[in-house]
Each structure stands twice: as structure tokens, then as C-alpha cells.
């Protein structure tokens, strides 16, 4: 297994700057170009969601992102501090179950586009970002809240059989769980 774990400040510029980090990591695992793109897009979407919806009362609260590649799957997990309100979590639970209720994320994507065409007047989250992760990123979304009250949203992308991934990265200095780089 290869894993890269980073702390990221909840700042748009830092998040935008994450793209080369994720492409570099996934490409380093020998993944195909389109898989690298898909996984980096997922990381970007999840990070943007974390900036938008996370609760950051002070500088001590940041985002933790981890990129993991195993033989049969690659995972992007983003943790951000959850707010005190339960309602958004329930909505997230419903949305994720709804997306995963379609064998074909394309179907979920079409349904969501239809809903967006019906422009929600309240200006709330359209949920299209999550559907994009499922559809364009071909990944299974999930989440949980940990006892530190962090929202951990993850997307698991199944790798095709015989994928070169799983071969440990050339640089083995990123051990699972280790805080490799602290950007915060």
C-alpha cells in the first residue's frame, strides 16, 4: 500500500495548489493517465467541499487529506471539522445513499442535472459535485463522523485488474497514517 497524508489549510489557493500534489502522487503509482486525472478531480472536489462546508473556528482546525493506493482500489479521504448542526450530515447521508442507489452513476448524474435545470431558488448545494465524483470519477462515496467530530468523506475508485498500482511507490517514506507534509 502507498499512502500520502497531508494537512491542508482551508484556503482556496492552497486547495487549488493541491492538483499537482495529487497528480504527482497517483502518477507515481504507475496509474494510467485518465485514472490519475479522475482521482485528482475527486481530491479537488472533496477539498473544495471541505473548504465550503467545514467549520473552522480557529487556525488549529484544518483539513486532512489522504490519498491511498492498494492493488485493487484507490481511495481519497478528506477530513474536516464538522459543524454542531446534525441536519447537513443527515442531508449528506441521504444524498450519498441516493447517489449510490443507482448502479450507473450516469443515471444519478442525469437526475441531478434535471434537478439543477429546475434551479433551486434557495441557492443551496446542488449536490452536483458529489455526483460528478461518482460519475466522472467512477468512485463510490461514503462518509462518517469520527469521535474528534471530524467529517471524513471518502471516495473509493476500483482499479482494473492488472493495474500497475499496488507496486509500492518508489519513495516509501510516506507510511500510512503519518503526517508527511504539514502545509498548514
Amino acid at each position: 500500500m502507498s499512502e500520502l497524508t497531508l494537512r491542508v489549510t482551508p484556503d482556496w489557493d492552497v486547495v487549488r495548489g493541491f492538483w499537482p500534489v495529487s497528480t504527482g502522487f497517483f502518477a507515481g503509482q504507475g496509474l494510467q493517465e485518465e485514472t490519475v486525472y479522475a482521482l485528482s478531480m475527486i481530491a479537488q472536489e472533496l477539498l473544495e467541499n471541505a473548504v465550503k462546508y467545514g467549520h473552522y473556528p480557529d487556525d488549529a482546525h484544518g483539513i486532512a487529506v489522504s490519498l491511498r493506493v492498494l492493488k485493487s482500489e484507490a481511495t481519497v479521504e478528506v477530513k474536516s471539522p464538522a459543524g454542531p448542526d446534525d441536519a447537513p450530515l443527515r442531508r449528506l447521508d441521504d444524498t450519498i445513499q441516493w447517489i449510490r442507489g443507482f448502479q450507473s452513476p450516469f443515471e444519478a448524474y442525469m437526475e441531478r442535472l434535471k434537478a439543477v435545470a429546475m434551479s433551486p431558488p434557495s441557492g443551496g448545494a446542488s449536490g452536483l459535485g458529489l455526483v460528478r465524483i461518482a460519475y466522472e470519477g467512477q468512485a463510490v462515496l461514503d462518509f462518517y463522523i469520527n469521535p474528534q467530530y471530524e467529517l471524513a468523506v471518502s471516495a473509493v475508485h476500483r482499479l482494473p485488474d492488472g493495474s500497475p498500482a499496488g507496486i509500492p511507490a518508489a519513495k516509501a517514506d510516506h507510511q500510512p497514517g503519518e503526517l508527511a507534509v504539514n502545509r498548514a
Binding site: 482500489e73 481511495t75 479521504e77 464538522a82 446534525d86 450530515l89 443527515r90 447521508d93 441521504d94 445513499q97 441516493w98 449510490r100 442507489g101 443507482f102 448502479q103 450507473s104 452513476p105 450516469f106 443515471e107 442525469m110 442535472l113 434535471k114 435545470a117 429546475m118 434551479s119 433551486p120 431558488p121 434557495s122 467512477q138 463510490v140 462515496l141 461514503d142 462518509f143 462518517y144 463522523i145 469520527n146 469521535p147 467530530y149 471524513a152 471518502s154 473509493v156 476500483r158 482494473p160
Partner: protein, 462 residues
């Protein structure tokens, strides 16, 4: 009936100037326009557009014409270039842009270009064969239409009995073909072809109550307690013989039998664990079902156990309707046995229950914790966190039992293509990996009889 929606303010504009109007809902595609500040322009006046104000938003609608109708106080506005959904606009304050919706049609149609020719043939043949069967059964039933109800029922029963094997064989052959034609597909291809397939068999799916429910997911997720009840019940349901057979066939699949198998297996494991803790005082043996659904196995246990007072049972589910079904079932057993059971119902999602550090204080600890039909929906990061937390809820020496469908589930493609029901399948190693870091006295993995579903049983050190 719905109350009439409130009027919305708007402005009509065109050659003859601007007119402030109050718009009232008329039909799905038209509105009535009231002119509060003056007389209405004459019949058949045309306007370049209408600006409509909904909450804090303004929408510009395209060219429209005023039509005066005798029976109506206010003239009607009909739209000349576009079709609008005024029902959504007035009732839900949502603007449906049908042009954008139509753009999506092209996207859907483009999907078919990526469907393999063999799969198209397979689908066409399946649809043809299904239509022949449907027609055959419909003809038989048509002959019975004039018979008294009792004769019709008896004849239907005879048809079902006589044709079940033949129809099930036909479906089984079809599913074998499905497995063959999709054998080389990767994950993405399965998804694309599944979507294509369901579009073609939709008419048949809709008629079969079980298939309709797994596809439509009225509670927003697959595997709700009503679907589970249908699996446990394993009976004919539907408005026609054809629909009844199509409803029943998936209930005979290996995956459905595996659900029924776990109903008998769980009480057996529970009793084994219970024996290890005997003797315990009343309500002394505590067990927890996580994602309990209708909890039929608990009803069985409470119905059969000579001394059910020894149990305290907690049932946890995200869905209040599932808990209501479980409660109703347990109350039925209580009434039948004229006894009172100790049962707690917990409405919570395992995804968010982890946030409570006081979980153990709140729920207490249990001698036996089990979860069936849940981990098949949790991806590794979540499944690992949930499994770890569930083990914390087990008393020393107690047991945690987790079920998960195996990657080689022979019903997998049937579920995905026909039922639109995907699971997170695991290998033995992947299931074991969920608790690889946990402190365990023993960890054992076993299968039920169909081999579809495996169970990880972990004993906590005493």
C-alpha cells in the same frame, strides 16, 4: 386536494409597453394574468416576454399571448416559444428549464453508442422473449375474465404452479446469458450496460412489485425493510400471473436465499454466545442488532425462546419506518406470548453515531453485537471505523458478527442489471482486514449454505 398556490408578481413587456401583473396558477403550461393597476390589454395581445418574481429571484419567460375566455375573470397567458412547468413554479418555486432538460436527451441517447453489439442482441432477445411470455399469460388470463372470482383465483393458482418451473428456467437461462455476455466487462462497462438494459426492460420491471421497489427505492436506498419483508415472505405478488412470476423469481435467487439463511443462522450464533455467559439474571443477556431492518430474526428468537425475559435487545437503524416494522413484529410476539420483552429502539445512522464519544454510556455494552446487510454498503474507510466502534460495544468475552456478500455472489449481475442494486462486495481477506488491528481472542470466517454471504465472527478477549 392541494390548496390553490399563491399568486406571483410579474411584468409583461412588449411593443405596447410594460404592465404590472399578478399571475395566478391556471394549468401546468399556462397562467391567468390579473392587471391590478389598470385595464387589461385586448384579447390576443402579444408580449415579448414576462418577468416573474419568485422569492428573491426573477425569471424571464419568453413570448406570450393574452387570451380572454368567457368563463374566466382574468385573461389567460399562453406561451408561444417555450413550454414552462407552472405547477413546479407556483407550488415548489422551482423553475423548470425544459430546454435544458431536453439537452440531456442527447446525452442519454449517446450512451447507446457505447453498448456492445453482443449486448444489444442479448437485450433485444430478452425483451422479445419477455413480451412473448407476457402475452401468453395475458391471453390465458383474458379467457378467465368472465369467470366468478373464486374460479379465476383457482385458475390463476393453477397457472402459477404449472408455469413457474418453465418461466423460472427461462429466466435462469437468461441470467446465465447475462453473466456470459458481461463476463469481460469492467466496472464502468457494467454500469453503462446495466443502464441500457433497464431502459429496455423497464415495462416489465414496473409490473413486478419487488423489482419495481428495488429500482425505484422509495425510501432513497436499496434494501429497505419492506424489500426485506418481501424477501422473507417469498410469495407471489402482482396484478397478473406474469408480474407475479417476475416478482417471485428474484426471491428464489441465491442472494435472497442467503438473506433467509441468516435469519435462522443469527439466533443459532446468539444462543451459542449466550451459553458462554450463563447463568445471567433477567435481562442479563444483552444483544444489539445494527441496521436491524424488520428484525424478523429477533421476532423468531423471542417467539421461540423459553425464557425471553433473559434478553435485553437493542435495535438500531437509520430508518424510522424499519424500526416501526420491527416494533410491530415484536409487539405481535409479545401479545401472542402474553409477555413483556426488554427492547430498545435506536434511530441512528452508523455513519454519524461514531461522533458520540459517549456511545458506550448511552447504549451500554452487549454480549452479542451483529450486523447483517449493512457492511455491504460501507466502503473500507467507513466499514473499518464502524467495525472498530461496534467492537468497543462488546463486553469482554462477547462476540461481534458481521455479514457481507462475497465478490463471487452468483446473483450479483441479476441484482445490478435487473434490480439496480449494487453492494460493496468483499473477498474473505477484505472482510477480515476490517478488524485486522483489533484486539481479538479469535476471529473466524464462515459462509451460509448458498455461499453468497460470509460472516466475520470476532470474539473479544475475556
Amino acid at each position: 386536494m392541494n390548496a390553490a398556490p399563491l399568486p406571483l408578481p410579474g411584468t409583461l413587456f412588449g411593443r405596447d409597453g410594460r404592465f404590472t401583473v399578478q399571475l395566478k396558477f391556471a394549468t401546468n403550461a399556462s397562467v391567468f394574468a390579473n392587471f391590478p393597476t389598470g385595464t387589461a390589454p385586448p384579447d390576443r395581445s402579444e408580449f415579448d416576454g414576462l418577468v416573474l418574481e419568485v422569492e428573491d429571484r426573477a425569471y424571464q419567460l419568453s413570448r406570450c399571448r393574452l387570451e380572454v375566455e368567457e368563463a374566466q375573470v382574468d385573461p389567460r397567458l399562453v406561451f408561444l416559444d417555450d413550454v414552462y412547468d407552472f405547477s413546479a413554479l407556483f407550488r415548489e418555486h422551482r423553475m423548470v428549464d425544459l430546454r435544458r432538460v431536453f439537452h440531456n436527451v442527447a446525452l442519454v441517447i449517446a450512451q447507446k453508442d457505447q453498448v456492445s453489439p453482443q449486448f444489444r442482441d442479448y437485450t433485444a432477445n430478452t425483451v422479445y422473449d419477455l413480451s412473448v411470455y407476457k402475452r401468453f399469460f395475458a391471453d390465458q388470463e383474458a379467457m378467465l375474465r368472465k369467470e366468478p372470482a373464486s374460479v379465476r383465483e383457482a385458475a390463476r393458482g393453477a397457472l402459477l404452479r404449472a408455469q413457474r418451473t418453465r418461466f423460472f428456467d427461462f429466466m435462469d437461462r437468461g441470467l446465465l446469458g447475462l453473466r456470459q455476455v458481461t463476463a469481460s466487462f469492467d466496472d464502468e462497462e457494467h454500469k453503462r450496460h446495466g443502464y441500457y438494459f433497464r431502459r429496455h426492460v423497464w415495462e416489465y420491471i414496473q409490473g413486478a412489485p419487488f423489482l419495481a421497489r428495488t429500482n425505484l427505492k422509495p425510501r432513497g436506498y436499496a434494501g429497505d425493510s419492506h424489500m426485506m419483508e418481501m424477501i422473507y415472505e417469498d410469495a407471489f405478488k402482482g396484478n397478473s400471473v406474469f408480474s407475479m412470476l417476475l416478482h417471485r423469481h428474484p426471491l428464489a435467487s441465491a442472494a435472497a436465499r442467503a438473506v433467509r439463511n441468516r435469519r435462522t443462522m443469527v439466533p443459532l450464533v446468539l444462543r451459542r454466545v449466550q451459553r458462554e455467559f450463563q447463568p445471567l439474571p433477567p435481562r442479563g443477556f444483552r444483544f444489539l442488532s445494527v441496521a436491524c431492518g424488520p428484525a424478523f430474526e429477533v421476532c423468531d428468537l423471542l417467539a421461540e425462546e423459553p425464557e425471553p425475559e433473559h434478553f435485553h435487545c437493542a435495535l438500531l437503524d437509520q430508518d424510522t419506518e424499519a424500526l416501526a416494522t420491527a416494533r410491530a413484529g415484536i409487539q405481535r410476539v409479545q401479545r401472542a406470548r402474553r409477555r413483556k420483552f426488554s427492547v430498545a429502539y435506536v434511530n441512528e445512522s452508523v455513519r454519524t453515531m461514531l461522533k458520540r464519544a459517549d456511545q458506550v454510556d448511552r447504549l451500554g455494552r452487549f454480549h452479542f453485537v451483529y450486523s447483517m446487510g449493512l457492511f455491504d454498503y460501507l466502503t473500507p474507510p467507513v466499514a473499518r471505523a464502524v467495525a472498530k466502534r461496534l467492537l468497543e460495544l462488546v463486553v469482554p468475552g462477547g462476540t461481534l458478527l458481521i455479514g457481507n456478500y462475497h465478490v463471487d455472489n452468483p446473483t450479483r449481475r441479476y441484482m445490478e442489471y435487473w434490480m439496480d442494486w449494487t453492494l460493496y462486495y468483499r473477498t474473505e481477506a477484505e472482510l477480515q482486514a476490517l478488524l485486522e488491528d483489533a484486539e481479538a481472542a479469535s476471529a473466524e470466517l464462515f459462509f451460509e449454505d448458498t455461499g453468497c454471504q460470509m460472516f466475520l465472527q470476532v470474539r473479544k478477549p475475556g
